[in-house]
């Protein structure tokens, strides 16, 4: 577990970060620019120093009342926004910078990092011969060679164009599935968040306003994500079977089964699915003569107005929480209320991995 209670006073800005996050998985630090995301990462790395604070990562205390461990003695992997490779060294030199300073790195470990990020073809290049995506791969590998107790990624994709982003995302997916350390990932991109996050930490004006599992953060009405205009729900599913006649596949999730166009993923693969609130509609009785394939029974949990003409409805289906965005008129004619049992129709589903 990571326990953090840090106060940093900068010119015209104050960071007041108090939170605990689990020691596995990706926690996305999400917030508008200037909200203190980068300052938070820098404080965890010891690059910004506050007067008071407490920081514990795993079993190491990096900051407490009488103790401030300097950056070079913290086991952190920090990936800067623009990769920040040393230009006076080539790719190998950048990686050796860590290997020379870190004792007890085995060949196997180094090889595993190189394989994870496909470093071998780049090893003899100079840093100016790398594309933006390749630079980030080297920067991530360099950070991982320190055997960090926590990996900090500061908007690693923001300097890249869409093509480069798509090149590097699969590597981030494999970090996600293969690393056993907590990852703090700073971004203001909803796409990256919904694809990568296990947890979301929301930050606004230097304060943590919410922190928890991704779908809880997306669907809580007291937090801004459910009101952002493109509210979504995210949950995990598994490819169960395929229907070759119609070229469809069946995805099993806790609340039932989705039928979606077949995208050739092997049976048993785990996928993450995203449902947009505006693609969900509600009926009182189960429709049979409809084109919509994905219909589930659900219970209304809470309804809040969304603008003048719409309402946002949070529903649960066997423990899975989902949002639906309706007009206020429909909600009123259906007499929607808390605890009412309804059917939801999901018009479309996005598969994220």
């Amino acid at each position: 577990m990571i326990e953090c209670k840090l106060n940093i006073q900068l010119e015209g800005f104050k960071l007041d970060a108090k939170f605990t996050i689990p020691d596995k998985g990706i926690t996305v630090v999400f917030g508008p620019s200037g909200s203190g995301k980068t300052t938070l990462l820098r404080a965890i790395a010891g690059l910004e120093k506050g007067d008071t604070g407490f920081l514990k990562v795993g079993d190491s205390i990096w900051q407490s009342d009488h103790n401030f461990v300097p950056t070079h003695k913290r086991q952190i992997g920090y990936v800067f926004q623009d990769a920040a490779l040393f230009d006076h060294l080539n790719v190998e030199g950048n990686l050796d910078y860590v290997i020379k300073r870190k004792t007890g790195l085995t060949e196997d470990f180094i090889d595993s990092i190189y394989t994870l990020l496909d470093i071998t073809p780049l090893i003899n290049r100079s840093t100016v011969q790398l594309s933006g995506g390749e630079k980030q791969r080297v920067a991530i590998a360099r950070a991982l060679l320190t055997k960090p107790k926590i990996l900090l990624l500061d908007e690693p994709l923001s300097a890249l164009d869409l093509k480069r982003k798509n090149e590097i995302l699969p590597y981030l997916d494999s970090l996600h599935s293969q690393l056993n350390i907590p990852i703090l990932y700073v971004t203001h991109s909803q796409d990256e968040t919904s694809r990568l996050a296990d947890h979301i930490m929301l930050i606004e004006d230097g304060k943590i306003i919410g922190n928890g599992p991704i779908n809880e953060m997306l669907t809580r009405f007291d937090l801004p994500l459910s009101h952002s205009g493109n509210a979504i729900s995210i949950f995990d599913a598994r490819v169960m079977s395929r229907d070759t006649d119609f070229n469809l596949m069946h995805l099993e999730f806790k609340g039932g089964q989705f039928v979606v166009p077949d995208n050739k993923l092997p049976i048993e693969s785990l996928v993450r699915i995203r449902v947009a609130a505006r693609d969900v509609s509600i009926t009182k009785k189960k429709q049979t003569d409809t084109s919509i394939l994905n219909i589930f029974p659900a219970v209304v949990e809470e309804i809040v107005p969304e603008g003048d003409a719409q309402v946002m409805v949070r529903l649960t289906l066997k423990g899975v929480v989902l949002l639906a965005c309706l007009t206020r008129k429909s909600a009123s004619s259906l007499k929607l209320d808390q605890g009412l049992s309804v059917f939801i129709q999901v018009k479309s589903v996005a598969i994220l991995s």
Partner: protein
């Protein structure tokens, strides 16, 4: 051809330049690093003191050095009480004078280079486990390579070329403090133009070659100011 005196002047000059440059780099590096990193309000005062030799007549500097180092100075008395003696009119005295006189030519290019080392590069090194001193030598120094070349060559060349300070505190003792620039002056005084030509021409060519070297290494070379 070169007289015995000329040869000894060349040897003393080269020895002086090497010793002074080594000391200049050793003193100038931490000084320039401090100036490039500090947020100290009154750092301009230090910058101005270091830059003084750029505009002061060398005789002024030489005069004060003589007052400080000469045999009647308090410093000389302290030295004498420890069994030493005044360093005015000795090789050591020349070295002290040269170091002070050439300091801006070493500090400014170094400060200029150090200022352009991104703070982020140093922070990255820290996250990779490098201590303060380690990051200075493995990141700041290699990224400031051109600054070191400029500083070294300028410090060396400027020491070779000095006249006024040397005249005031050196005293032109053959084999000890007799340097090239004064040897040329002596030849001209004695109307030995052929020998003056030989030494002056040699210096001209050497200086030119050294400057070409500096410019090749550092295209943004400026002696008078560093860029923020």
């Amino acid at each position: 051809m070169l007289s015995e005196l000329d040869v000894s002047a060349i040897i003393v000059t080269i020895k002086l330049a090497f010793v002074s440059t080594a000391i200049l780099i050793a003193i100038g590096t931490p000084l320039a690093w401090w100036l490039s990193q500090t947020k100290f309000k009154f750092k301009v005062i230090f910058e101005a003191i270091i830059a003084l030799p750029l505009i002061l007549p060398p005789t002024v500097l030489g005069f004060y050095l003589l007052m400080t180092l000469g045999s009647n100075s308090p410093l000389a008395r302290v030295l004498e009480s420890f069994g030493g003696s005044s360093i005015a009119f000795t090789f050591s005295g020349l070295v002290v004078g040269s170091v002070i006189y050439s300091l801006p030519f070493v500090v400014q290019p170094l400060q200029n280079s150090f200022s352009s080392v991104k703070r982020q590069s140093m922070e990255v090194a820290a996250t990779l486990g490098a201590s303060k001193l380690d990051r200075f030598f493995t990141v700041a120094v290699p990224l400031s390579r051109s600054g070191f070349v400029t500083a070294g060559v300028l410090g060396f060349a400027h020491t070779v070329g000095e006249f006024g300070v040397v005249l005031m505190i050196g005293g032109n003792i053959p084999g000890e403090t007799g340097v090239l620039s004064i040897a040329i002056y002596d030849h001209v005084e004695a109307m030995e133009y052929a020998q003056a030509h030989l030494l002056a021409g040699g210096l001209l060519v050497t200086s030119f070659v050294m400057l070409i070297f500096v410019y090749l290494f550092n295209r943004h070379f400026s002696i008078m100011r560093y860029k923020d």
